[in-house]
Every structure is written in structure tokens, then in C-alpha cells.
């Protein structure tokens, strides 16, 4: 960036801090992945060393794959995450557009109301949600999870996206109106592509808690049919005996899909908008 920050001690300092942070952040992940390739004795004997020919063992992975249903759990997690993500982004963006674009009575209040969920954890309503799901016959369905996660993700999405939508040029939207585009076309074709980087931000923030959640799958959809990966991994976590090989292998596998989704979205983040519409 500026010349001033390019001095050598500063560069070294900045890199030292960033590298330390990276090491701290990656340490647990690497530990999990490393140990997932080791035998039980290897894990307990020397948890911090990488797998050696003596301790290398794929028993964890064979257990997980052999468990058969695990592929199915993966599928469930993926369906729930992707569907929730889709609805959060769609409805969040639509609400944000309405709040930022149209002047109507109670606009500010509505915005506050929609953002309230950021401060109030949705888990406080678990009992009521469970009753609701029982009453509507949605217990043990993926739909129940998708509904809850959509509700959980919306407040932050609306909050962040409406800030970004306010920055989209009014002139561009007005040009569309003069050319006879409907409000939906203006939203989908003109505005959404311009706020894509912020959509990606929201997607990343929304996706990770959903994928990792244990609470709602355990309460709303614990059946064999609807188990998610996180819940499925609990299988190996016994009261008396814990199958560490399998748990570590399951966790390592569970990281992959989020990682892939993350890579997809972060490319959007970096690519930025195609400028040129507006000076």
C-alpha cells in the first residue's frame, strides 16, 4: 500500500503477527487431520507427531465409510446447509432491497425489527420451536431444520445486505425504470450482481454455524433418516468408550464440504464487481 508501511521492520512485524495467528488458527485443524490417519495407540502415544509408518492407520476412515449411513448423513448436512443458505440469501436480499430502496411508513422500525434477531439467540425459543414443529408434523424432517436455519440466518443477512444495497447507484436503478424494467428485474439483474461480494460474505457467515450445528439436529431431527454429519459423529462418542479414530476421521471429512463452499464464495469475494457501470 503506502510507502510508509513498506519499511522492513514493519513488514517483518506484520508478517510475524499474521503467521502466528495463522499457526494458532490452523493448529487444531491440522491436529485433527493428522491424528485421523493414525492408529489408536499412535493418537494416545504421541498426539502431536505426524503419522509415521509405524502409527499410520486408516482404521478411522474405514470405520466411518463402513458405517454405511455416513454418506447419507453427509447428504443431509449438505441439503440442509445449501437449502438454508439459498433461502437466507434470497429472502435476506429481497428484504434488504425493500428496506434500502423504498420509502414507506415504518421503514426504520421494520429494519430494526428484522435486525433484532442478531442480538437474541434463536436457541432461546427452542421449546416453542419444538412445539411448533410437533404441531405441524415436521419433527424429524429436513424441512424443520431448513426453516429454523433460514430464520436464524436472516437477521444478519438483512442487516449486512441493506447497508450494501444502499450503496448501489440510484441512477442505475432509475435508468432501468425508465427502460421499463420491472422492480424484480431491477433487483435480480442490476442490483444482485453488484452486491455479489457482500452476498458471499453473508453466505460464509451463515453457512458455517449451520454446518456445525448440533443443537437443532439433536432436538428437531434426530432420526436415522435425517441425521446430519455433526450428529452422526456423536455415534462414536460413547459414554464409556470413545472411538477416537472414527471421530477424527469423520471430523476431517466434515471439513471438506465447507471448505469447498468457502473456496467458491471467497473467489466471489476476491473477484469483486465488474466496474464500469458507474464512474
Amino acid at each position: 500500500m503506502s510507502i510508509a508501511t513498506r519499511s522492513l521492520p514493519r513488514t517483518i512485524g506484520a508478517h510475524a503477527i499474521l503467521l502466528t495467528y495463522t499457526a494458532i488458527a490452523l493448529f487444531p485443524v491440522i491436529l485433527v487431520i493428522m491424528n485421523s490417519f493414525k492408529s489408536r495407540a499412535g493418537i494416545f502415544g504421541a498426539p502431536l507427531t505426524p503419522p509415521t509408518p509405524k502409527t499410520f492407520d486408516l482404521i478411522g476412515y474405514t470405520t466411518v465409510i463402513g458405517q454405511g449411513d455416513f454418506i447419507h448423513y453427509f447428504q443431509n448436512s449438505l441439503v440442509v446447509t445449501v437449502a438454508s443458505l439459498f433461502f437466507v440469501l434470497l429472502f435476506g436480499a429481497m428484504a434488504a432491497f425493500a428496506l434500502s430502496e423504498y420509502r414507506f411508513r415504518g421503514n426504520t422500525l421494520m429494519g430494526l425489527y428484522l435486525a433484532l434477531g442478531i442480538m437474541i439467540p434463536i436457541r432461546l425459543g427452542t421449546v416453542a420451536i419444538l412445539q411448533l414443529m410437533v404441531a405441524s408434523g415436521l419433527v424429524n424432517t429436513l424441512t424443520a431444520l431448513i426453516l429454523v436455519y433460514t430464520a436464524q440466518g436472516l437477521p444478519l443477512a438483512v442487516f449486512i445486505l441493506s447497508e450494501f444495497m444502499k450503496q448501489v447507484s440510484d441512477d442505475l436503478k432509475n435508468a432501468g425504470r425508465i427502460d421499463g424494467l420491472s422492480e424484480y428485474t431491477i433487483f435480480f439483474r442490476l442490483v444482485l450482481p453488484l452486491v455479489r461480494p457482500s452476498m458471499a460474505t453473508v453466505a460464509v457467515f451463515t453457512m458455517i454455524p449451520i454446518w456445525n450445528d448440533l443443537w437443532f439436529p439433536l432436538i428437531l431431527a434426530p432420526s436415522e433418516e435425517t441425521k446430519t454429519v455433526t450428529l452422526g459423529a456423536q455415534l462414536f462418542l460413547g459414554q464409556f468408550v470413545t472411538n477416537w479414530n472414527a471421530i477424527l476421521a469423520a471430523l476431517s471429512l466434515a471439513i471438506m464440504p465447507v471448505l469447498i463452499l468457502y473456496v467458491i464464495f471467497s473467489r466471489q469475494l476476491i473477484r469483486g464487481i465488474t466496474s464500469g457501470a458507474v464512474k
Binding site: 441512477d171 442505475l172 435508468a175 425508465i178 427502460d179 421499463g180
Partner: protein, 332 residues
Amino acid sequence: MGSLKIENVKKAFGPVEVLKGINLEVTDGEFVVFVGPSGCGKSTLLRVIAGLEDSTSGRVVIDGEDVSVTPPAKRGIAMVFQTYALYPHLTVKNNMGLGLKQASTPAAEIDRRIGIASSMLSLEPYLERRPAELSGGQRQRVAIGRAVVREPKLFLFDEPLSNLDAALRVNTRLEIAQLHRRLKATMIYVTHDQVEAMTLADKIVVLNAGRIEQIGGPMELYNSPANEFVAGFIGSPKMNFIDGARLGETAKTIGVRPEHLTVDLNSGAWKGTVVHAEHLGADTNLYLDCEKAGLITVRIFGVYNAEPGATLYATPDPAKTYRFGADGKVLK
């Protein structure tokens, strides 16, 4: 074909009244320029005409038809924005054609009109490019082209040149003037650039704080401004205003344009010292601190050598001196 009538249009944003009763008539083929200080409501008025903003009260009549509740696309208008506002995902050709496509115009007709507009604005080489691959001046020409292909009854321009550099601004200004001559269309143009207003307009509308101060041709506004505001706004450098009492006059304020003052080394009406001199080549602007008149600007045609601190006498041309009453209006 493209007349416009605005009847008592008012616009308020919450408690803030931005337009306070605008009445205006534009006849077919006229080039009308709105000028006024920043925030006076020029863009708001233009957006009300376009239908992008609802007026709080009053009527907008285009071509004899009340369009107060007609959506923008159905008003027969086209608008060019300061920020170009091109669709980033479409090529130049599709940018220009989108409005017609929305109105289900046959493809052959769309192509014909794009052909005419792009040759008029020399845009042919860029038809397949996207806006990101164009320079600022080209983008603004595309935006103008997009307006032209719609063959509107009324063109609306909102400061279309203010993002361009000085040389390009002159070129594009010429292009707009030619466009007006060729299409004979009605155009409404917002600017706060004096030169644009004076050179392009058939009729200038001077707005101030949501009201129309005066409507008239460029020379009419220059020669006979209705009040102090218009007198100060039209003309550059700005007209000198001198407190009438200091000159022993009955009028509240006396106004003289810098170009209507002459200077002399030895004698004249107002004795003063040179504070600063600006040499522009074609003319020279002198800032004089006068005993009687205070700080005034004098514009001298050609080169005039005057050092700061020198004593000079300035004399106003009595035939071109304006007298304003306490309410700011010109006294006859």
C-alpha cells in the same frame, strides 16, 4: 410533439419542502436548462418530470397528456444521468436496445435505430464492448445513445458532463447541441456550469431553494435579471454588489458586472488599491479594494499590468448599472 407543462408542482421529503410550487411551460423543440445552486432541487424536479419521484401535489403534462400517475417507461421520456448508469452486464448494443426490447419493438427496428444512433455518436466500433471496457467519454456517449434510440418526446439530462474532463466536456457539449439541432427534440438539461447553460439553452430556468427565480433566454437573463439572485448567479466573474447607502444612493444595493467597469490611473468614480490580479491572457481580472465601494472585481479585456498595492480608479458604466430594492428585486 414534445411539449411539457408543469403546474404548481410541490415536493416534500417528510417535513422538508424541496420544491415549493413550480410552474413552467416548455414548447416543442425547445432546449431548456435548469440552473441553480447545489441542493436547490434541480434533480428533484427532473425526477418528478421523469416519474422517478412522485410529486406531493401539482400536475405534470407531457404532450397535452397528464402523466402525473404514469410510470416512467410510459411517459415517452429518456434520461441521461451524471454517473452514466449503464448496465454493467450488457454490451453497448444491448444497453442501447434494452428499453426498446422491453417495449416489444421488432428486432429489425431496434437494429435500425441503434445503427442511426451509433453512427450519430460514432459508437460503431464499440457496439460489442461492455461499459467497463470504455472510457468515460465513450460511456457518456453510450448513455446519450441509449436515450436517442428511444426516440422520446422529451430528453432529460442531469448534469451529463460533470464527470468528464474539460476538453471532453467541450466536445460532448457540441455533440449535444448538434443532436438537438438534428433531432429537433425537446430537451431539458440540468447543470451548474454557466458556460453550458449559456451556450446550449434556448431558455434558462434559474432555480433557488425550490422556487423559480426567473425564466428567460441567456441574453435576457444576462442583460435584465429580475433580481439580485439571478444577477449574481448568471455571469462570471460574479456581479459586484455594493451597499447603496455607501454610495449615497436610494437603492438598497447597486450591482455592476466586472466587465462593465473601466479603470484609470488618475481619475474615476471609485479610488482603490489593487489586491490581486489574475492574468488569463484574453482578459485580466483585478480585485480592487475601494474606499467607497469595498472589494470589487474588474474584468479588463486583454492584458493589463497592475501590481498589487498600486492605486487605481474604477468607473462603472451608468447604462449597465443595476439597482436593487430591499426585497432584492430590480428597481426600474
